[in-house]
């Protein structure tokens, strides 16, 4: 039996190894293109925003109005650190001095029952809708119905948007009538000093999982999404921080309930409808508005999150599969969608196959340790170099991490990412894909720690 497996693995390694390596190089080669694209885009953007005065936006009666939608479920730790469960509304009532109100709203989209409505006496702009739990998409749809702004900002309740984040996000809408949605950068708040709902001092977390996620987020936003801006447009806007034309979202039917990737699904649908019906369809990523979010610090929660993200990605791509290589959908159908299908979705499968074969090869003595090590380092080396270049991009543009400690930590996490962490994410993503194929659609629970005033190292 052992001989048969060994023969099979040998054959596979001989024939498949080259393909796996080629795949790695091709993917990283494409990342290189994205990196160059984002470098050019970032340079253009930095020149565009240098010395700009955004105060005019605030004072103008012509500025588009924005409603912020923040679905909250089991978020009492974020709002106030009392640690109890399912008291979100009670905590809100106490914290923001809410009083029950009545208002007129259109039930544009079918949603779960709205129980009551409150307005804050302290902050009159704050309206809280208490409704039956129907998931995030359902809550956002209720928010869309209550919202009055021309634009709606969908965010997570545990996200901290920087003071001028919305002013920065709104710019593409002012410069082009073709823009339907914009997304900003999400950064990791773990390890930073938070006071009064604002990040006072940024710092790279010393916690392994949180630290590696800082590097991951920088790479995803600074060269992933920014690069696509120039190469044909994005199809992802983070659910934690996105700005949409309210009317366009309502016309598209709002957020879908039966998917775990409701944020990406909406963006892809808006893009798709713009090709099918005409109308605005540009999805712009703006790098300078920043929202800070808490990332998981345990493998259990992180695994659930990555599993869910990958199920969401698979679900969205499956729902809109007719776009694949369809010239009717322009660049999105011919380039962007295939990239997400063949690189983002299938990469963990290829990577898993490569890793498993390598381990089997070692176990069966088909591959020697030196060769395995060399193969492993070659496959992940370019990715590490690209991540290091992303750190330079951050440094050239926004340089939020200024101290030597932060730089050293960032580089350290970039190196460590491929030594176990990445393989774990491969496992979680493959599991997500498997679960998608089996039809699982639950969210899983995110454990909130809340933004405690953590003292950042000096």
């Amino acid at each position: 039996m052992r001989e048969i497996i060994a023969a099979f693995v040998t054959q596979f390694l001989v024939k498949g190894q080259f393909a796996v390596l080629l795949y790695f190089l091709a993917v990283n080669g494409w990342y290189l293109v994205l990196l160059v694209s984002s470098l050019l885009e970032l340079r253009r953007h930095m020149l565009l925003i240098a010395d700009e005065s955004r105060h005019l936006l605030l004072s103008s009666t012509l500025s588009p109005t924005i409603s912020i939608l923040a679905p909250a479920y089991n978020e009492e730790a974020t709002i106030e650190t009392d640690g109890s469960k399912d008291r979100t509304v009670q905590v809100l009532i106490e914290k923001f001095d809410l009083v029950p109100v009545k208002t007129i709203y259109e039930r544009n989209i079918q949603t779960k029952l709205v129980r009551s409505l409150y307005r804050s006496s302290t902050y009159p702009g704050l309206v809280v809708v208490d409704k039956e739990n129907g998931g995030k998409a359902d809550a956002l749809n209720v928010g869309l119905s209550f919202a009055r702004g021309e634009l709606v900002c969908a965010m997570d309740a545990d996200t901290l948007i920087e003071a001028d984040g919305l002013q920065r996000m709104v710019r593409p809408f002012l410069y082009s009538t073709d823009v339907v949605a914009t997304g900003g950068t999400i950064r990791v708040v773990n390890g930073s000093l938070v006071k009064h709902g604002r990040v006072q001092k940024t710092a790279v977390p010393s916690h392994l999982l949180a630290g590696i996620q800082v590097v991951e987020y920088l790479r995803a936003f600074l060269f992933g999404r920014l690069g696509w801006n120039r190469l044909g447009g994005n199809i992802i806007i983070s659910g934690a921080f996105g700005l949409f034309q309210r009317e366009a979202v309502l016309q598209a039917g709002g957020y879908l309930h039966d998917t775990v990737g409701e944020d990406m699904e909406l963006v892809v649908r808006l893009k798709r409808l713009s090709y099918e019906r005409g109308g605005p369809g540009k999805i712009a990523f703006v790098p300078d508005p920043v929202a800070w979010t808490e990332v998981p610090e345990t493998t259990k929660v992180l695994g659930r999150q990555r599993d869910r993200w990958h199920r969401g990605l698979a679900d969205v791509l499956w729902r809109h599969r007719r776009m694949l290589f369809n010239p009717r959908y322009g660049v999105t159908g011919l380039f962007v969608y295939p990239y997400y299908a063949f690189v983002e979705l299938l990469a963990p499968v290829i990577e898993a196959v490569g890793l498993v074969s390598l381990v089997l090869g070692l176990a069966l003595g088909v591959v020697d340790w030196n060769f395995a090590g060399l193969f492993y380092l070659t496959a992940y080396g370019l990715g590490t170099a690209l991540t290091a270049f992303t750190l330079i991009l951050e440094d050239l543009s926004f340089h939020r991490y200024n101290t030597f400690r932060d730089r050293a930590l960032l580089f350290w996490w970039a190196l460590l990412e491929n030594m176990g962490y990445r393989q774990l994410t491969v496992y979680w993503r493959v599991r997500g894909l498997w679960r998608f194929l089996r039809g699982r659609k639950e969210w899983g629970t995110m454990e909130r720690k809340g933004f405690r005033p953590v003292t950042a190292p000096s």
């Binding site: 190894q17 190089l25 020149l47 240098a50 010395d51 700009e52 410069y175 380092l377 170099a385 440094d395």
Partner: protein, 347 residues
């Protein structure tokens, strides 16, 4: 099997790339640190000299010399940061200092540069200083939308006939991506734009007219009435909607009569805007027509009609109560919701 030699070559390239990236990352950090320290020191000196020159109003040659000796970037930064909090005589003195130091000449040269990023920078400096330079006026017709938008921002502080007419032409430019900047600048110019804008509205009826109407609504001069009435018949829905809003802002019997007609417009956005405008005017004579709109098939029209009825006072409240007992359940539902609203939320 992939040959070890090939793997070694790839590996070497990757290591070289990684080493390059790491060196750049840390060297850039050192450079940033040193630059920040230098800039802090120079900016402090520049700010102190500039504050003495601008606040005290005494032309001190030594301070001018100190500013002249600063690097151009530091000069620009110090001048622009103080310009935001100055107006009147203080700004006049700042302009003088900027001229003496060479900031203005440099900005003018930048405005003529072939690269749009330089022209944008030049326009930003001259806008910050509110310098009435014809070079920026030319930039209103620049190829790049960001430069045009910046020139429009500059124009807000230069409300001459020539500038206003150039700005209005930008409203008519279908390709402009700087429409917001233009509209906003026109608005900031104040009532001085009323005459030229009125003439503009008389001669346009396309999307540009819609953009003009939105500016006119904020100025709300009676002289826009004729154009608003004409444009309320335009083919473009957005233009008709904007005309309804302008009519509501101007008010008067003629405007009200046309708004009542517009309650029967084929588009729901226009009907809703007309209902809202009548409520804004507290035009109680339109009560029965507004009550009729409570039966409108579109929710937004029913909502605006309900709120307008509430806004016109007792007659409107009476009509809302009647709708409660009517045969149309949508009208009754909306009437109920409006009547349930607390006093502060009505209208």
């Amino acid at each position: 099997m992939v040959s070890e030699r090939l793997l070694n070559i790839i590996m070497l390239i990757e290591v070289a790339l990684l080493a390059l990236a790491v060196s750049l990352f840390f060297l850039h950090g050192v450079w940033l640190h040193l630059t920040a320290r230098r800039m802090d020191r120079l900016s402090k000196t520049g700010r102190e000299s500039l504050a003495r020159l601008v606040m005290r109003g005494i032309v001190n040659v030594e301070d001018i010399e100190v500013l002249k000796n600063l690097p151009p970037d530091v000069q620009n930064i110090t001048v622009l940061e103080i310009s935001r909090s100055l107006s009147g005589a203080g700004k006049e003195r700042l302009r003088f200092v900027a001229q003496q130091v060479g900031v203005v000449d440099r900005a003018r040269a930048l405005c003529q540069h072939r690269r749009w990023t330089h022209r944008l920078r030049g326009a930003r400096i001259l806008s910050g200083l509110d310098i009435p330079d014809p070079l920026v006026l030319k930039l209103l017709a620049d190829r790049h939308p960001a430069v045009r938008a910046q020139a429009a921002e500059w124009a807000a502080a230069q409300p001459s006939v020539e500038v206003i007419s150039a700005m209005l032409e930008l409203l008519a430019d279908p390709a402009t991506q700087a429409r917001f900047a233009v509209q906003n600048a026109l608005l900031r110019m104040g009532n001085v734009i009323a005459g030229p804008l009125s003439t503009f509205l008389e001669t346009h009826s396309d999307r540009a007219a819609g953009a003009g109407l939105r500016v006119a609504e904020s100025v709300a001069e009676p002289r826009f009435l004729t154009s608003a009435l004409r444009l309320s018949h335009a083919e473009n829905i957005g233009v008709r909607e904007a005309a309804a809003k302008l009519l509501g802002a101007i008010a008067g019997a003629e405007a009200a009569a046309r708004l009542v007609e517009m309650l029967a417009d084929s588009d729901s956005h226009v009907r809703a805007a007309a209902a809202s405008a009548l409520g804004r005017m507290h035009y109680w004579q339109a009560g029965s027509q507004l009550a009729e709109r409570l039966r409108d098939p579109r929710w937004r029209v029913r909502r605006e009609a309900g709120l307008a009825l509430r806004a016109i006072g007792a007659p409107g409240t009476l009509l809302l109560r009647r709708a409660l007992k009517g045969d149309d359940r949508f009208a009754a539902d909306m009437a109920q919701q409006v009547l349930d609203l607390p006093e502060a939320a009505a209208g």
